[in-house]
């Protein structure tokens, strides 16, 4: 409670309000362990549905590596995971919980950490959440309350920057670049995107949300006529003028993409699924790899949530992906001890977020299709 009161006072919040749901972006690392251990040892338990982020699928990785080699990090992750279970968190182990394991309603006050989830909940669903840290989200999950500040107040949910989009946004990857550029350019505030010709797909939203919070600290955005709290541009800005305006053309996206490339030698590992691939992305991947085989000397990893994998199994995507020689992993974050053996390898990913936090050496970043072409014979 002391933590939440400190946050509330810092933001001049008049009182606490109830929340129905929380999502703790469990990282399985020291900061996470520090706080969840305090809660578990203090006998705390989650009052409201509190889902968790991916840590690591220990059962799976036990079979393919010697976990003891990464003992320090692995034991932190293991202990953390168990403490979450102990306090009654929902072990969703997914960074896209708003699609399946924990779905807020429009107008519902919640406490969702996981930087890629916060903007999705606020913008696409119209739930109300601040850009929580793991600790404040956990505290909210345990107490069922959060301070009334920030995104819980209507007046703070209006747009601040007009973002005129002139670039082509044909795939999921272009939305990652858009998020990366806008996050870096405006750093904070609420962008209002105009000029987007088609309603984004779910995976495009996911990529945009993720990158806005890698290069920036952005809790919400509007796409007038599309996202739920802005039917028009005027409504997005609540009648005010934008504080700033920026334009994003293909040139900005190309330059942003160049910034990510650090590879100077051939790629030997490809990692996809940061954030976790949803079912559409699994379908797209299956189509791309069907009938092909992963090259010799290459390893190919795909991350998703357990619930998505279940549906991918039923759709036949899992079988196609595994037959190609790619490895499908669940419950796991790319920023984990189980990837440490990649540290000297040149990697490739379609996720600038994965490249940013990477556990591997130099990196190439490109869209899914390019990643597959690099990985397969």
């Amino acid at each position: 409670m002391e933590l939440l009161v400190a946050i509330g006072e810092a933001f001049d919040a008049p009182r606490m309000i109830p929340v129905n749901r929380a999502h703790a972006a469990s990282s399985g690392q020291e900061g996470d362990l520090y706080f969840v251990e305090i809660l578990a040892k203090g006998g705390a338990s989650c009052k409201v549905t509190t889902t968790t982020n991916p840590i690591a699928d220990f059962d799976y990785f036990q079979q393919i590596m010697n976990i003891a080699e990464e003992h320090d990090e692995a034991s932190v992750a293991w202990k953390t995971k168990n403490y979450y279970k102990q306090i009654g968190a929902v072990m969703s182990q997914s960074c896209i919980p708003y699609l399946a394991e924990n779905i807020p309603e429009y107008g519902e006050h919640v406490a969702f950490s996981e930087s890629s989830a916060t903007p999705y909940v606020n913008s696409v669903i119209g739930g109300l959440t601040n850009r929580e840290s793991i600790q404040t989200a956990l505290a909210a999950g345990v107490l069922g309350e959060t301070p009334e500040y920030g995104m819980h107040l209507k007046e703070n949910r209006k747009g601040t920057v007009l973002v005129k989009v002139e670039a082509n946004l044909n795939d999921g990857y272009s939305y990652s670049l858009l998020g990366q550029y806008v996050g870096k350019k405006i750093a904070s505030g609420i962008p209002v995107f105009v000029g987007i010709p088609k309603r984004p797909r779910i995976d495009q939203y996911i990529n945009l949300c993720a990158m806005l919070n890698v290069t920036g600290a952005i809790a919400m955005f509007h796409i007038p006529g599309v996202t739920v709290e802005a039917k028009t541009e005027e409504e997005a800005f609540a009648g005010d003028k934008p504080k700033d305006r920026i334009v994003v053309t293909n040139r900005e996206l190309e330059e942003t993409e160049k910034e990510l490339q650090t590879a100077t030698s051939p790629v030997s590992v490809v990692i996809l699924g940061c954030p976790h691939y949803n079912l559409d992305q699994m379908a797209e991947l299956a189509t791309l790899v069907k009938g092909k085989k992963v090259r010799d000397g290459m390893t190919f990893w795909v991350n998703t949530s357990a619930t998505t994998k279940l549906m991918a199994d039923r759709a036949g995507h899992t079988q196609i992906i595994q037959e190609s020689g790619a490895h499908l992993v669940v419950d796991t974050c790319i920023d984990m001890f189980c990837w440490n053996n990649l540290r000297d390898k040149t990697g490739m990913t379609d996720s600038p977020k994965c490249a940013y936090y990477r556990r591997f050496g130099p990196v190439r970043v490109g869209k899914m299709e390019e990643c597959v072409a690099t990985a397969m014979e």
Binding site: F11, D32, A187, S188
Partner: protein
């Protein structure tokens, strides 16, 4: 020179100032040395250990700020205090839990009032920042 400020995370800290116009993500700081490893960052190659950091705001994911600060704390390389111009909850929560004083709303623009190398005292509880020019 002494200016008023607004307490975000309580406590007292003093040390040499290190000023950055770039937002900071503590996960991109090497825990064993306190050196910023983020490519292209204004503080790249510089150490935050024991410093009074002045920067606009935190950035990046909801987990890593806390992980970064806890790792720095464990290695005794954490900053002594932090002064920001734009607070966001992830940095704030991390500062509260790692007991690193954090303040904002300085009476004077901190980027004008403080230069890297100045000696700065941050008293979050009293709501004041004292700067001694180097």
């Amino acid at each position: 020179m002494s200016v008023k400020c607004h307490k975000l995370a309580k406590g007292y800290g003093e040390g040499e100032a290190l000023v950055s116009k770039d937002p900071i993500c503590f996960y991109l700081v090497e825990p064993k040395t306190g050196v910023v490893r983020e490519k292209g960052h204004q503080l790249e190659g510089k150490s935050v250990a024991g410093k009074v950091l002045v920067f606009p705001t935190g950035k990046a994911s909801s987990a890593v700020q806390m992980d970064g600060l806890v790792k720095l704390l464990i290695n005794k390389n954490a900053p002594k205090a932090m002064i920001v111009t734009d607070v966001e909850p992830v940095l704030l929560g991390s500062a509260v839990l790692t007991k690193i004083p954090l303040v904002d709303r300085l009476e004077r623009n901190p980027f004008e009032a403080i230069r890297s190398g100045d000696f700065v005292k941050v008293d979050a509880d009293k709501g004041s920042v004292t700067v001694t020019r180097n």
